[in-house]
């Protein structure tokens, strides 16, 4: 059972990590589909 919970915890870590990495790398929809004339987060 311990291994099962470790794996579930790993799922959460991978998910949060993937989200952070992809955002940092500019893969979010708003970054990847907006042109230079678009102001984001304003």
């Amino acid at each position: 059972m311990k291994i099962m919970f470790i794996a579930f915890f790993a799922i959460a870590v991978i998910a949060v990590g993937a989200n952070l990495i992809l955002k940092q790398a500019g893969f979010s929809s708003k970054n990847s589909t907006s042109g230079a004339a678009v102001r984001l987060d304003n």
Binding site: I3, I6, A7, A10, I11, I14, V16, N19, T33, G35
Partner: protein, 472 residues
């Protein structure tokens, strides 16, 4: 008379041919080349209408009227011509956003996708899952829980190492999350909004999307892990034919011999790998929209084989709008996921409720020896055979098996068991085992095993009860 009949038949056949040809190219002179009532009726009957007479009628800039003329402000085109250019994707569009889809303002292929998604996909997909659940419930009522037939030994054999169980739970945990959030995304509008309202569903939908997009990476990592760890043991073997012929012993008495993975488990494994990879690739295509386009290229390859003509559905479209690539990817992703979910429901059933002792394999990693002998007799032979064939101390799997009796035997039979932890007859007669440590049932032991110095090694390991695996 005969000549007259032949002439009549030939005349009629020519007339029918002429009519058929006339049907292919309708006369649109009454509408000045625009679509006719006949075109509209044909479309409403669900039949295809060749749209080339419209898709090409998008105006001619070289014949543009001067600015002072009635159509001058439109660059020589009429409004309908501009709309047709937008509709058929030939208009010159400038957009502030980027990407292949930015300049596609009207994508009428989307209607087909929406209809399929809200119709057959939800209907048959939902029916498949409910049907499998109903079948499993019926099977449980008919067959009940598959029990361990023989007497339990109290000894354990390590079936899966910690890293294997980690990979399994990483895959299964992520798959369940992905399945649930995928179902919320697909069925939410139809079933959850009427029940919980828009606000609550909005929160749920945003959360589901986040979970679905990001947990997918754990699924893909786990898929690679289990492939690497288990592929060698899931290669088909001749014993699988016998196992399948006997239906795995589910409907009959007795257990067909099987190695570490029986044929049923191999089917699950390859289903997970093949369908899981397919889901992952289509999922990646959806995660990075318009970056990974697979369907136009696939359709071109299918057309090249001529399968379409052979099966009667003709040529597949090889030029797809960017959105259509995504729509096909979404439908494929969902259809394959439904199939895998149905298979996994059966897997979850047999691994938990359906079979006594099966869950331990992934729970603690150690299974009851009798369970292993019944369901994976050849694997037990391999595991114990390895240990009994060598004079060196027992290797990992059998060490636990040897250690187990000391702690696992509940009613003080540890001493007895310790004398012959590896040896075992079909009915668990420890007395006999004690006298003949290495003797085993005819099916599960080799002559070599009987001669091997098992008892000596076993005693050595059995003398360390503190290191035995934890009790269930």
């Amino acid at each position: 008379m005969l000549r007259a009949m032949i002439a009549l038949i030939l005349t009629l056949s020519f007339l029918s041919t002429a009519n058929a040809q006339g049907g292919d190219t309708p006369d649109r002179s009454a509408t000045g080349g625009a679509q006719t009532l006949g075109d509209i009726m044909t479309r409403q009957r669900g039949e295809d209408v060749d749209n080339s007479f419209r898709s090409g009628a998008t105006g001619d800039a070289s014949r543009a009227a001067v600015i002072s003329n009635q159509l001058g402000t439109l660059g020589g085109n009429s409004d309908p011509e501009l709309w047709r250019a937008l509709r058929f994707g030939s208009a010159d569009i400038t957009a502030s956003n980027t990407g292949p889809a930015a300049t596609v303002l009207i994508q009428d292929g989307g209607m087909g996708w929406l209809k399929f998604r809200e119709g057959p996909l939800t209907t048959y997909g939902g029916a498949l899952l409910m049907g499998v659940i109903a079948l499993l419930a019926a099977f449980f009522m008919y067959r009940g829980r598959i029990k361990i037939d023989g007497e339990k030994t109290g000894r354990k054999i390590t079936r899966f190492k910690a890293i294997e169980r980690f990979g399994h739970w990483l895959l299964s945990g992520s798959f369940i999350l992905l399945g649930l959030t995928g179902l919320i995304s697909l069925f939410g509008r139809k079933f959850l909004i009427p029940t919980f309202g828009h606000e609550a569903f909005s929160f749920l939908a945003v959360g589901s999307k986040w979970v679905h997009n990001n947990v997918s990476w754990a699924f893909m990592v786990a898929l690679v892990m289990i492939f690497v760890m288990w592929v060698a043991e899931n290669i088909p073997h001749r014993t699988d034919i016998n196992w399948l012929r006997k239906g795995g012993g589910i409907f009959s008495k007795g257990h067909p011999p099987a190695k570490k993975f029986n044929a049923g488990q191999k089917i699950i494994f390859w289903s997970v790998i093949v369908l899981g990879v397919s889901i992952s690739v289509s999922g990646l295509s959806l995660l990075f929209p318009f970056e990974i386009n697979m369907f136009a290229a696939t359709f071109a390859k299918i057309n090249a084989t001529g399968i379409g003509d052979l099966l009667g559905f003709g040529e597949l479209r090889e030029a797809l709008a960017p959105h259509e690539e995504m729509q096909y990817a979404q439908l494929w992703h969902a259809v394959v996921s439904f199939v895998l979910m149905a298979i996994i429901l059966a897997h979850i059933y047999i691994g938990t409720l359906g079979m006594e002792g099966a869950y331990d394999a992934m729970g603690s990693g150690d299974v009851e020896e009798q369970w292993a002998r019944e369901h994976h007799s050849l694997w037990v032979e391999e595991v114990l055979g390895e240990t009994t064939n060598v004079s060196e101390p027992l290797k990992a799997p059998a060490v636990k098996a040897a250690k187990a009796p000391v702690t696992k035997t509940a009613k003080g039979t540890s001493a007895k068991a310790a004398k012959a932890p590896v040896a075992k007859t079909a009915k668990g007669t420890s007395a006999k085992a004690a006298k003949a440590p290495a003797t085993k049932t005819a099916k599960s032991t080799s002559a070599k095993a009987a001669k091997a110095p098992v008892a000596k090694t076993v005693k050595a390991t059995a003398a360390k009860p503190k290191k035995a695996p934890p009790k269930k």
